[in-house]
């Protein structure tokens, strides 16, 4: 049961990252690799703030803010300095590696002695139910784990709702349109470049937030923790789209899909690890999965067209 709760918690934390990737990859249609750096940035900024005795929620916000700055930088490089989108992301990500080391002062910051959201959550739950272990379906579960799960779930639900609302505001709709059809949104009097910068800031803010919570859950921030995170987020989105249907473009469904996708993916990974998957192979498996998810539909389409005499792509 601890394993399940752990997978759920981890999945929910990473779903914040998936929401960030959802914004850049699906809404802005911007292949943003900054993610790998900004998640670490969020984590390291939060860790340093916590170590220096900052309120855990403020520290979390700080991590989110740091992520936003990273996204803003990537956006600026692309829109105003006319650097290719992938390269802008790589530049910022690379720069962030050094910046993260600078922020942390070393490659790993443990926060064993600082108060984190986990501690705050545990304290909250203990107030209402002062036992060390709570039984769920007959399984005893440590209060700390359950409290963290509930807190993260609440946070994710809050952020998800907020994001959904944001995407329906005047400026949110403009961001979506800028991603889908820059020509169209310019004709409506919006500078699509700033929409892109803004969207990337929001996206990386969510990634930073994810990093901030992750660091507190794990109890440390590590300069390596971001590697492969963008692909991870992508895999989650793809699974989510498989769950809610790829054709769905309602913002609510997209967000739900990303959330469910991440959790499911995390569960699958937990099961695989349990069955003996070498943790070192995790990133390879993730990459192969994304590859397959991107390529298989195309092959299926081709085969479909052959079988159904060219009707496979109708309506595309």
């Amino acid at each position: 049961m601890t394993l399940v709760i752990g997978a759920f918690t981890m999945g929910l934390i990473l779903s914040l990252l998936a929401l960030g990737v959802l914004i850049s990859f699906r809404i802005l249609r911007f292949c943003d690799i900054t993610v790998d750096g900004s998640i670490t940035l969020g984590a390291s900024a939060t860790a340093v703030l916590l170590v220096s005795g900052c309120n855990p929620w403020l520290a979390t916000l700080g991590g989110m803010g740091a992520g936003m700055i990273a996204g803003f930088a990537t956006g600026l490089l692309h829109t105003h300095f006319k650097i290719e989108e992938l390269l802008s992301g790589i530049l910022v990500m690379t720069a962030l590696y050094s910046i993260n080391l600078r922020v942390m002062g070393r490659s790993n910051v443990p926060m064993l002695n600082s108060e984190s959201i986990s501690d705050w959550a545990e304290a909250m739950l203990l107030k209402s139910n002062p036992t060390e272990k709570i039984s769920i379906l007959g399984w005893p579960v440590p209060v700390r784990d359950l409290a963290m799960l509930l807190t993260v779930a609440a946070l994710v639900a809050f952020i998800g709702l907020l994001l959904n609302l944001f995407l329906k505001t005047s400026i949110g709709t403009a961001v979506r349109a800028a991603g889908e059809n820059p020509q169209m949104i310019r004709a409506q009097g919006v500078d699509n470049r700033w929409m892109q910068v803004f969207g990337l800031a929001v996206s990386n803010g969510l990634v930073g937030l994810s990093g901030a919570v992750l660091a507190q859950y794990q109890g440390f921030a590590d300069v390596q923790m971001g590697i492969g995170m963008m692909v991870w987020g992508l895999a989650s989105i793809i699974i989510g789209e498989a769950l809610v249907g790829k054709s769905t473009r309602s913002t609510g469904m997209m967000i739900c899909g990303a959330l469910m996708g991440t959790v499911l993916f995390r569960l699958l990974i937990a099961i695989a690890l349990r069955w003996g998957l070498d943790p070192n192979d995790l990133k390879l498996v993730t990459a192969l999965f994304v590859f397959a998810a991107l390529v298989l539909p195309r092959w299926a389409g081709k085969i479909g067209r052959k079988v159904f005499g060219g009707r496979g792509n109708a309506g595309a």
């Binding site: 609302l165 944001f166 329906k168 505001t169 005047s170 400026i171 949110g172 709709t173 403009a174 979506r176 349109a177 889908e180 059809n181 020509q183 169209m184 949104i185 310019r186 004709a187 409506q188 009097g189 919006v190 500078d191 699509n192 473009r249």
Partner: protein, 270 residues
């Protein structure tokens, strides 16, 4: 009023692909005037429109619209004065967003966009009210993605969006060219209706002579980056498709009349 003053644009200057797309375009479009630009391929008709819209910055010359010198304004800023419909019916709308969301985007054309919800019941009613006269049954489908509509329906909506807030200038870039004949005719009729009702100043690029004769008040003919004919008033009233074809023919013949022809012809003339 739109005024172009000796506007020039060269693409890829100094390369083998250099194209002198606009070689000094000057024109004045009075308020409430609906003009069509016609011309052969590569004559610069779409380029002129894009120069006004701000898709690129011109090399020299000035563009004034509604008392503003917009020569240096970026495209999105000019959109506060200009409504546009593109040739590609997919270019003017965001396919994955709903009809209502697309329209609400155009309801704030050139205005600030804040964190208020884009759509509310009042706005939704207004949208339904204004798309009902299209008679396309779209008022019941305003929450469907606009990508599920046909090209003709999308183009009609784009036209509606471009004129939702009365623009100082409406730019139509061969906006019926990519549609099937029936939808093209529908959109053409709608264009005329809207422009007449709102008394809009409009500039339309078209390759349809028929359209140029029927729709606008004025016909501007371009060739090789220059205006070669400007037909308005009484002359426009009696112009026929055949006259436009003849005018094209004249321009083409003039190109074929080179120094070697002159050398041949002059001694045989008298």
């Amino acid at each position: 009023m739109l005024e172009l003053n000796n506007v020039k644009k060269t693409f890829f200057p100094g390369t083998p692909n250099e194209v002198q797309a606009l070689r000094g375009i000057s024109m004045k479009l009075e308020d409430g005037c609906f003009a069509a630009i016609i011309g052969t391929n590569g004559s610069g008709k779409s380029t002129s429109l894009n120069a006004v819209a701000g898709s690129f910055m011109v090399d020299s010359g000035q563009i004034h619209l509604d008392g503003h010198d917009i020569t240096k304004w970026p495209e999105y800023r000019r959109a506060s004065l200009i409504g546009r419909v593109f040739q590609n019916p997919f270019a003017g709308t965001a396919a994955e967003m709903t009809i209502a969301e697309n329209i609400v985007l155009s309801m704030r054309r050139g205005k600030t966009r804040g964190l208020g919800l884009a759509l509310n019941r009042r706005i939704r009613e207004e949208i339904k009210e204004r798309i009902r006269p299209l008679n396309m049954g779209l008022e019941t489908r305003i929450d469907n993605p606009i990508g599920t509509l046909s090209g003709g329906q999308r183009q009609a909506l784009t036209l509606l969006m471009a004129t939702w807030l009365r623009p100082k200038l409406l730019l139509l870039d061969e906006h019926t060219a990519a549609l099937d004949p029936k939808s093209a005719a529908q959109v053409a009729v709608l264009t005329k209706e809207i422009i007449e009702r709102e008394k809009l100043t409009a500039l339309m690029v078209t390759h349809s002579m028929q359209q140029a004769v029927q729709l606008p008040h004025r016909i501007i003919m371009m060739h090789k980056g220059q205006i070669v004919e400007d037909i308005y008033g009484e002359r426009k009233a009696r112009v026929k498709v055949a006259d436009l074809m003849n005018a094209f023919d004249r321009v083409r013949r003039r190109d074929l009349f080179d120094a070697s022809v002159a050398e041949q012809v002059l001694p045989q003339f008298a």
